[in-house]
């Protein structure tokens, strides 16, 4: 019985210390949101999720290392940062566009929006889809921006989620560049929904353009195709 007050005091002290301990010596978390898009003529470039990385560098501090920023599959990216001056660089040979090694100065002050201009090789400007049973027919319009590296192939992908690309796919069809008679004409691609997705409510489809010598593809937006 007699020890009870001590116990309470002990607990109260512990509680007080616990609260105080959280506050002390903590840095404030970064607050400013940098958001942006990878664009060509105001149009975002579709990419593979987790595929293309932009690098943010901040000079002037002893700890100097890049802040990697992965671009989403719709060409958007975002990062939570401290206010300050950064340099944004585009990794060489990764994205489906011409290497551009000049850095872009980014001044982050509060929430900041930037656009990262790139010059792609070949992009999909428009893609429409028709489903007939398990067959999907796609009509895609291509636009060749740069011929530094020629087109290698155009591919149509089917997947069970919206994150559809070269890696995440259940079925795909490949049309090599030599089989495309006229690139300025709409291109037709046919793919069959695989039996593993026969019971799905919907599938997602997407078209990508592969350029010779570049790992990543430039994609059209992922489109949902309702099966039921």
């Amino acid at each position: 019985m007699t020890s009870k007050p001590y116990l309470y005091i002990f607990l109260a002290t512990l509680f007080a210390l616990g609260i105080a301990g959280c506050k002390k010596d903590n840095y404030e978390a970064p607050e400013s949101m940098l958001t942006g898009r990878v664009v060509y003529q105001g149009q975002a470039i579709g990419l593979r999720s987790n595929g293309v990385q932009l690098e943010l560098w901040q000079h002037g501090y002893a700890f100097f290392t890049k802040i990697p920023i992965y671009v989403n599959q719709d060409g958007n990216f975002s990062a939570k940062l401290f206010d300050g001056d950064y340099k944004l660089t585009r990794q060489r040979g990764v994205g489906p566009w011409i290497d551009q090694t000049d850095s872009i100065d980014v001044k982050v002050s509060g929430n900041t929006i930037i656009e990262v201009p790139v010059t792609p090789y070949t992009i999909i400007t428009n893609a429409t889809y028709q489903r007939n049973g398990t067959a999907i027919t796609c009509t895609a319009n291509l636009q060749t921006v740069s011929t530094v590296n020629p087109l290698e192939a155009v591919r149509l992908y089917v997947f069970r989620t919206a994150l559809v690309d070269e890696t995440n796919q259940d079925a795909s069809v490949n049309v090599a560049a030599v089989d495309i008679p006229n690139i300025s004409q709409p291109l037709t691609l046919n793919v069959t929904i695989p039996s593993s997705l026969a019971n799905a409510d919907a599938v997602y489809v997407r078209v990508g353009a592969k350029t010779v010598g570049v790992g990543e593809l430039a994609y059209s937006p992922a489109t949902k195709i309702q099966l039921k």
Binding site: G93, N168, V212
Partner: protein, 626 residues
């Protein structure tokens, strides 16, 4: 009170006066630091230094858990998954290989070697004669060449430092900053070093210390890597190069490197080694070729262990089959996949796919015993993997995942699995075997297979008290034959390539001339490397140098190569049908604990440099795509 103070003062003075007697108190020789000069006067310390350096040679795998060597990495690729404790579950869920995977940049070790090389000349004359000094320097240079090989195969070209770099305290360290050498220059350095030392290195017949054949074995491997990088990097899109050649070897040099590799291999093959062929049971023979330590003519160079000297490891404790474990914990961590098992062909030469369904895929194939499904397979399967019904330590490792019961009403089978291993079904016969496999229990095989290669068959070796002293193989003649075969084939010398690869296959039970000039392809030689050298730290490096890793490990869940599979045996309960009741059937499935398909991306071909390295030495350029 006064007295106490007096005594205290007196004793203090006495104490101080004692200390004062010791002259040069601050300049005594430390008793716990051995200086370079002392070290190089003492034979035993010199030997200890060499042993230390040999022990620090890195490998991606190995049998130990030490800096630069981590046996658990065996579960990171496609030959095995992790079935041990769930704290290492990440190995089954590698979403993608990180940019710093395989990173190795150990200039601390390079400096130690360079320092020792200089000290041999400076102090070595006290304890060593001229010939001994030459030999020790040759051994140190061998270790240095090996370390550079480990660096270049992971990072591409690295700075070639062959002398100590000493800072002059003038405030400007720029003269210490060395740029990366070209990738080809590092391989050339390795070749010239090995050629230069092979006549001085001695150690004939030793497997723990390097001799001239060890040098040529390393040269055979390194030159093969250089040749295939030269040839296949150019064929990769996008090919990985830097403007300064730090990464990427010109395709024009491929032939030269393949020739050097072939010449080095021929030198080893002409040496005193021969393939292990002491056991008429070909499966046991292949197992013994790796683990047998006495009169084993095949091994060239090993990291050795000895229980009686307490240099031992827990590899058998961690990886023994669950039903055979002698300790109360662990076992079953590295479990081979069905992917590896199916890569072993049938002895008639047909592809090694496991036949669990009938030709029309309408019903299972019923086997009398679980072991029957593995009949007529490449003997190296038995020597590498413990499959259901196979023996180890004179015991049988039974495996059964459950029972399937015929439901006459629906004309279909119903599957029953148990919550515990070693449990019985309602018919009082076995439900789940003592060794599993089981979908979720930790430290039970998740794939239906256990590891045999490198597991110690001696009593008590899988206990923590005794442990194991099976050695880790750096080089053995089997690899050299395959190196020779690959290099010869790349050079268009098909006849030689056939001779070498058929020797290896002959030992595996395929007969004398199983490949012919008409059927031999580079894919078949590569396939032999996977089956012969599984778990010997080759698979990932082979796929990298052939520039195949991104095509095999695509990250695609529908790819049969990126996804890892298990094979579960079930007992059939179908009373009234004596042709099927009590027989065994097999189900192929994605290993239940395996989460994300292996995903190797183009930036993984060369590991990224730590930004701290670049900050300290701005002359180092980052690898492409990183």
């Amino acid at each position: 009170m006064k007295n106490i103070l007096k005594y205290f003062m007196l004793s203090l003075i006495t104490l101080l006066s004692f200390n004062a007697c010791k002259k040069d108190y601050l300049e005594r020789e430390p008793t716990f630091i051995v200086t370079d000069e002392q070290l190089w006067k003492d034979d035993k310390l010199i030997l200890g230094l060499l042993a230390n350096y040999y022990d620090r040679i890195p490998t991606d795998m190995g049998l130990t858990d030490q800096p630069g060597s981590q046996w658990r990495n065996m579960a990171n690729y496609d030959d095995a998954i992790w079935s041990g404790l769930s704290n290492e579950e990440g190995r089954n869920n590698i979403f993608n290989y990180n940019r710093d995977s395989w990173r190795y940049y150990d200039y601390g070790f390079i400096r130690d070697i360079n320092l020792a090389l200089e000290n041999v000349d400076k102090f070595g004359a006290a304890a060593l004669n001229e010939a001994e000094r030459t030999q020790i320097k040759a051994e140190l240079r061998f270790i240095r060449a090996y370390v550079y090989f480990e660096m270049v195969k992971r990072m591409g070209g690295v700075p070639l430092i062959t002398k100590q770099l000493i800072y002059d305290y003038q405030g400007d360290p720029a003269y210490l900053q060395q740029p990366r050498a070209k990738e080809a220059e590092v391989y050339d350095f390795i070749a010239t070093e090995l050629d230069a030392i092979k006549n001085d290195i001695g150690n004939a017949g030793s497997t723990g210390r390097a001799n001239r054949y060890t040098c040529m074995a390393l040269k055979s491997r390194a030159m093969l890597y250089a040749g295939s990088i030269a040839k296949y990097n150019a064929l990769l899109t996008p090919s990985i190069t830097t403007a300064g050649g730090e990464v990427g070897i010109p395709a024009s040099r491929a032939v030269e490197y393949f020739q050097k590799s072939l010449d080095a291999s021929k030198e080893v093959i002409a040496g005193p080694y021969s393939l292990y062929n002491n056991n008429p049971n070909l499966g046991e023979n292949f197992y013994e070729a790796i683990v047998k330590k006495s009169s084993n003519p095949e091994v060239i160079f090993v990291r050795d262990f000895l229980v009686s000297k307490a240099k031992k490891h827990g590899f058998s404790y961690e990886n023994i089959a669950r039903g055979l474990r002698e300790d109360n914990l662990s076992s079953s961590c590295i479990t081979p996949t069905l992917n590896l098992v199916e890569s072993y062909d049938y002895l008639d030469g047909s592809v090694g796919t496991i036949k669990n369904r009938n030709a029309t895929n309408t019903d299972y194939i019923y086997y009398d015993n679980t072991i029957d499904i593995f009949a007529n397979k490449d003997a190296r399967l038995y020597g590498t993997v413990i499959y259901p019904g196979a023996g180890f330590k004179g015991l049988t490792v039974d495996m059964q995942a459950g029972v399937i019961v015929w439901n006459a009403a629906t004309s279909s089978y119903q599957t029953f699995e148990g919550a515990d291993i070693g449990s019985n079904y309602t018919d009082n016969k076995l439900l789940v075997a003592a060794s599993g496999p089981h979908r979720s229990i930790q430290e039970v095989s998740n794939t239906g297979f256990y590891l045999r290669k490198y597991i110690d068959a001696n009593d008590g070796s899988s206990t923590r008290g005794i442990q194991s002293d099976v050695w880790w193989i750096w080089f053995r003649l089997g690899e050299i034959y395959l190196n020779a075969s690959e290099a010869a084939f790349e050079l268009g010398q098909t006849t030689d390539a056939l001779t070498y690869v058929n020797r290896i296959r002959q030992r595996a039970g395929f007969g004398d001339n199983s490949f012919s000039a008409a059927t031999l392809t580079i894919e078949k030689i590569r396939h032999e490397r996977r089956t012969e050298l599984a778990f010997e730290d080759h698979r990932v490096w082979d796929l990298k140098r052939w520039r195949q890793a991104d095509k095999v490990w695509t990250g695609n869940a529908n790819s049969p190569d990126a996804q890892l599979y298990a094979l579960y045996p079930y007992r059939v309960v179908r009373p009234g049908d004596p042709t099927r009741d009590g027989k065994y059937v097999f189900v192929k499935l994605v290993a239940p604990r395996f989460r994300s398909p292996r995903f190797f991306q183009i930036f993984n071909y060369y590991s990224s440099f730590d930004q701290a390295v670049i900050n300290n030495n701005p002359k180092v350029i980052q690898n492409p795509f990183n």
